[in-house]
Symmetry: C2
Subunit: 162 residues, 2 copies
């Protein structure tokens, strides 16, 4: 069970995007350079965030991606769902209906007990991700970083947006 | 983020294996027929369970796989770890050390805040899976099943082990 690399990349990107001034954005190429990740693959991940309403794109010089809503309204669950889709990790294929002792479909109105147990664990996982906003993470990053490092990042952003 | 099909298959199989009489086992072919799943792929999943000490194999006529320990000592987490391995769903590649503003390695003794948040959610997921024994699930299945269906399954197991 693996989350795609895009989840890590976009979490870092979203934690940085609040530094972008109003009306400006960061290009995929700039973001790919910043994190040393492949630009083409990152472009796809950013499109997924755009479709989910997490980022928006700004055209023209100094344009690119910026957050589409306040960072405290974006949770880690929003990010994972945008990148990975809403499909649960455990997919029940109803094998209890298979084979020589298979249940009839009409006797399967109640969800499979095994699928229910996995669904419960996934609810706990999703609840934990939903309870963490990107704002709280960005704040932790800022608290733990040195002032020099924060200035370094802010300076880089400023240079990109011109 | 997906769990392999082997997790579903082996959860159903482990819930059934307590019906196997002492000293006997169920062959992979019989289990594959029972659930209508591919025998070769199931064989690999059962080997993973054997390596994890969840099932053991019994040789000879009426031989095959049986549980290696009491079913109330096997959790859904044991099963998932056996099939999927212990690797976390979120893998931190330390991209905070990349690029023009990358942190130096010596400044990264504290875990990345993003990786920590995902690890916390995974702990909630694993704790939920660890709290569910296969015994509790098998019991739920038995309580929800009709007596005829349970006799049907027990009869099938008896025919396999001769």
């Amino acid at each position: 069970m693996q989350l795609g690399k895009g989840v890590e990349w976009t979490a870092h990107i979203c934690a940085m995007l609040p530094l972008v001034p109003p009306g400006r954005g960061l290009s995929v190429d700039a973001l790919a350079d910043y994190f040393e990740v492949p630009s083409a693959y990152l472009a796809k991940q950013m499109q997924l965030l755009r479709r989910a309403g997490i980022v928006q794109s700004v055209r023209g010089k100094g344009g690119g991606y910026r957050l589409a809503r306040p960072i405290d309204e974006i949770s880690l669950l929003d990010l994972v769902t945008a990148i990975e889709g809403p499909t649960p990790a455990f997919r029940c294929t109803e094998i209890r209906q298979n084979g020589p002792c298979g249940l009839k479909r009409k006797d399967c109105r109640r969800p499979c007990e095994i699928a229910s147990a996995f669904a419960e664990a996934e609810r706990a996982y999703r609840a934990a991700l939903a309870s963490r906003s990107l704002a709280s993470i960005a704040q932790e990053v800022a608290v733990n970083a040195s002032p020099e490092h924060l200035l370094d990042i802010a300076g880089w952003v400023q240079r990109q947006v011109g």
